[in-house]
C-alpha cells in the first residue's frame, strides 16, 4: 500500500523531507520507524493524518505519517 511519510528536524538528515513509500498491509507506525533506521526512543511525536498516534498504530492505504523527534518551544 502507498503511504506518505514526512520527516522533521534532524530526522531529515541523510533521509528525506517527504516521500511516497510502499508498505505491506498491516504495517504499523513502528514498522515505518524501523524501516527508516530511526531509533524508537528518539521519536517524540507521530501524527497520522494530523492526529496523534502511537508506534503500535496501524497504517492504512494513503495515510500521511509524520514523524518528529522530541521537540519543544513556546
Amino acid at each position: 500500500m502507498q503511504v506518505t511519510v514526512k520527516l522533521f528536524a534532524f530526522f531529515r538528515d541523510g533521509r528525506f523531507k517527504e516521500e511516497g513509500r510502499e508498505y505491506p498491509p498491516g504495517t504499523t507506525v513502528g514498522d515505518i520507524v524501523n524501516s527508516l533506521g530511526i531509533v524508537r526512543d528518539e521519536v517524540g511525536v507521530v501524527l497520522v493524518n494530523s492526529r496523534q498516534a502511537g508506534l503500535e498504530a496501524a497504517v492504512a492505504e494513503n495515510d500521511a505519517v509524520a514523524i518528529f523527534p522530541v521537540i519543544g518551544g513556546g
Binding site: F8, G72, G74
Partner: protein, 574 residues
C-alpha cells in the same frame, strides 16, 4: 548584599531604598510583581495614570550562577487588558538588578511636565536624570548611544511605541550582544512611557548575590544543569530555536492561518525552523545564541540577510507564526526584517502582527504583503500616524476601528500561535489566564501536542481543564524563580530537575521549601492576580473566547471550541 526595595516617585522625582516587608520576603519575579501591584495599585485606576505602578523584579535565583536564571519580571495594571499583568524577559537586566541588591524596583507617580527622564540603578539606589537626546529614538539607537555613554551597563528601554503609550508597546531588555529581548505582552512599555522614563541603566559594580550555603547550591546547580542539557527538547531548541514548532503545529492542524480562518498554512515549510536553520548556516549566522549569560539551552539565534549582515536575533516561533501563517507571508527574510523593526519600535511581536492580520481582513493590506507590513511598521506605527496608532493599540483596536468581528483576542490581548479549536487545552489557558490570551501562562501544547509531561489528546475535552490548571499553577511558581520557562520540559520529564531547583532556592536563602510549598506558591499567585481582576471589574464571563471560535469550524479537523461557560469556570476550583 542585603536585598532592598528600590522605589522611584516620578511625581516629585524622588527615590528611596526601603527594607523588604516581611510579606514580600519569600517572593521574587512574578510572585513579587503581582504581590506588589495587588498591594499598592488601585484595581480600578487608569493604567496610564499616576495611580498605576510599574514594578520590575528579578527572580529568586537571578544574579546567581544557577543555569537559565536570568529572567526579569515586569508587572503593572495592563493598558491592553485592564487586568493585572506580568511579562517576563531575558537579557542581562535581571542578573544586574539582583547584583545591585534590588529585590524590586517600583516606579510610581507621574511627572507633571512634558520632560523625559532616565534612571540609573546601582547598589546605592536609583538616580533620576533628565533625558533629551534619546527621546523619539528606537531601541537600537538607545542601546548604541548608551554603550558609548555608559559602557557595559544593563539596559531596560522603551522605543517610540512606549513613548506614544500604544497598548501593544513592550519593554526591551538588552542581551549580551546588543540584541533586544522583550517584556512583550500587555503594553507595559506604555506604562513606562506614561511615567516618562525612556530607559533604565543598571550598574551592579562589584555587587554579588549572597548564597547561604554555597556548597549545597553548587551541587544542586550541577544536577539541575545536567537535567536541562540532557533533555532532548533542549537539544532541538539549540539547533532550530522555538521555530521548530511551525511544522508540528501545522501538521497538527492547529496553526492559525489567514486571520484564524484555517488551521494549516501552505507556506509552512518556507518559514519553518528547519528552513531557518539551513538559512542561518548558509549565511554564516549563529543557530545558537544565549539571551543571558548562564543559559545552557540557547534557543536564540542570529539570523543574517543574504549578504551575511545580521537582521535579527531572538527570532521566535510565535512572532514568525504571526507574520507568517496568520498574515500569509512565506518569506522568512521579510519576517526577520519586520521582527527587527518591531524590536526597534518596541512593540509586541505577537500583538502587532495579529493586529496586522485583522487589518488584512479589513482590506487595509493584502494577505501575504510582507513588504506592506514593513512599510506600515516604519511609516505608520513608528511615526504614530492614525493608522499606526490603531494597529499599535492591538488586534482588538483594529477590529473596532474597521468593524471586523473575527478578532482573536481574550480580554483584549491577541491569541498567539495555537488554535484553541484544534488544541483545546490551550483554549482553556487563553480563557482563564489572569492576563488575557497568553500561551506561556499554561503551555498545554507540551502535553496536547509534544508528548512532554504525558499525553492529553488535543481534540477532546477530557482532561483539558485539569491540565491547564496544573500547568498555570506550576508556571506561576517557575515565573517567580527567574528561571526561563523552557526548564519546564526537563522538569516535566526528569525527576531530578525540580528537586534540584527547589534545593537551589533553599541553599540560596537558607530555607527548607518542599514541592508542596511550590504548588502553594503558584496557587497563591493565581488567586492574588484573579482577586485584582475581580476588583477591577472582571467576572467569570470575561473568561470566554470570541464567538467565532464556537461557531466557525477550522480545517483540517473541522472542529469548534466546545467548552460551556460552566465547564471553563471549573478551572478556578482549587
Amino acid at each position: 548584599m542585603t536585598e532592598k526595595i528600590f522605589r522611584v516617585n516620578m511625581t516629585d522625582l524622588t527615590t528611596s531604598v526601603e527594607d523588604v516587608p516581611a510579606a514580600w520576603a519569600g517572593h521574587g519575579g512574578r510572585g513579587l510583581t503581582s504581590t506588589i501591584v495587588a498591594a499598592e495599585v488601585e484595581p480600578t485606576c487608569h493604567p496610564l495614570g499616576p495611580k498605576n505602578k510599574l514594578v520590575f523584579a528579578p527572580g529568586l535565583l537571578s544574579g546567581t550562577v544557577a543555569a537559565n536564571s536570568g529572567r526579569l519580571s515586569a508587572g503593572a495594571k495592563s493598558p491592553l487588558t485592564g487586568t493585572i499583568k506580568e511579562a517576563n524577559s531575558g537579557g542581562t537586566a535581571a542578573q544586574f538588578l539582583a547584583r545591585c541588591g534590588c529585590k524590586a524596583l517600583i516606579i510610581e507617580g507621574q511627572p507633571k511636565g512634558d520632560g523625559w527622564y532616565s534612571l540609573m540603578v546601582t547598589p546605592d539606589g536609583v538616580t533620576i536624570s533628565e533625558e533629551k537626546d534619546l527621546i523619539g529614538k528606537g531601541n537600537f539607537a538607545v542601546a548604541g548611544a548608551l554603550e558609548s555613554r555608559l559602557p557595559g551597563k544593563g539596559l531596560i528601554t522603551i522605543g517610540p511605541a512606549g513613548e506614544m503609550k500604544m497598548a501593544a508597546a513592550n519593554i526591551s531588555v538588552k542581551d549580551p550582544d546588543g540584541g533586544m529581548r522583550s517584556n512583550g505582552r500587555g503594553g507595559l512599555g506604555a506604562v513606562m512611557g506614561s511615567k516618562k522614563v525612556k530607559f533604565i541603566a543598571i550598574d551592579p559594580r562589584d555587587g554579588k548575590v549572597e548564597i547561604a550555603d554555597p556548597e549545597k547550591f553548587k551541587e544542586a546547580n550541577r544536577t539541575f544543569a545536567k537535567a536541562l542539557v540532557g533533555h532532548p527538547v533542549s537539544k532541538a531548541l539549540g539547533q532550530y530555536g522555538t521555530n521548530v514548532l511551525v511544522n508540528i503545529i501545522n501538521e497538527s492542524g492547529g496553526l492559525p492561518t489567514r486571520n484564524f480562518t484555517l488551521g494549516q498554512f501552505e507556506g509552512h515549510e518556507k518559514i519553518s525552523g528547519e528552513t531557518m536553520y539551513d538559512t542561518i548556516i548558509a549565511r554564516n549566522g549563529k543557530p545558537k545564541h544565549n539571551c543571558h549569560p548562564g543559559c545552557v539551552i540557547q534557543c536564540s539565534q542570529v539570523y543574517n540577510d543574504a549578504s551575511g549582515k545580521k537582521i535579527t536575533s531572538g527570532f521566535e516561533y510565535e512572532s514568525i507564526w504571526a507574520m507568517g501563517a496568520d498574515c500569509c507571508i512565506d518569506n522568512l527574510d521579510q519576517i526577520a526584517e519586520a521582527d527587527r523593526l518591531m524590536d526597534d519600535i518596541g512593540i509586541d511581536s505577537i500583538e502587532t502582527p495579529v493586529a496586522m492580520g485583522v487589518a488584512m481582513e479589513a482590506g487595509v493590506l493584502s494577505f501575504g504583503d510582507g513588504s506592506g507590513i514593513c512599510r506600515v511598521l516604519k511609516e505608520e506605527v513608528a511615526k504614530g500616524t492614525p493608522l499606526g496608532r490603531i494597529i499599535g493599540n492591538g488586534a482588538a483596536s483594529v477590529g473596532r476601528a474597521y468593524g471586523v468581528t473575527r478578532v482573536p483576542v481574550v480580554k483584549n490581548q491577541a491569541i498567539p500561535a495555537y488554535d484553541p479549536r484544534a488544541i483545546k487545552g490551550i483554549g482553556i489557558t487563553y480563557a482563564t489566564s489572569t492576563q488575557g490570551a497568553d500561551h506561556t501562562m499554561g503551555y498545554t501544547i507540551a502535553t496536547n501536542i509534544l508528548g512532554v509531561g504525558g499525553k492529553v489528546d488535543p481534540l477532546t475535552k477530557e482532561g483539558q481543564v485539569e491540565l491547564s490548571r496544573n500547568l498555570q499553577i506550576a508556571t506561576a511558581a517557575i515565573d517567580s524563580t527567574g528561571m526561563c520557562l523552557f526548564i519546564a520540559f526537563a522538569a516535566l520529564d526528569d525527576q531530578n530537575c525540580l528537586p534540584a531547583l527547589i534545593e537551589m532556592i533553599n541553599a540560596r536563602f537558607g530555607i527548607a521549601l518542599t514541592g508542596d510549598d511550590v504548588v502553594s506558591l503558584g496557587q497563591y499567585i493565581l488567586k492574588t492576580e484573579r482577586a485584582f481582576n475581580l476588583a477591577a471589574g472582571f467576572t467569570n464571563l470575561d473568561d470566554r473566547l470570541p464567538d467565532f471560535f464556537y461557531t466557525e469550524p477550522v480545517a483540517p479537523h473541522n472542529v469548534v471550541f466546545d467548552f460551556s461557560g460552566e465547564e471553563i469556570d471549573t478551572f478556578w476550583n482549587f
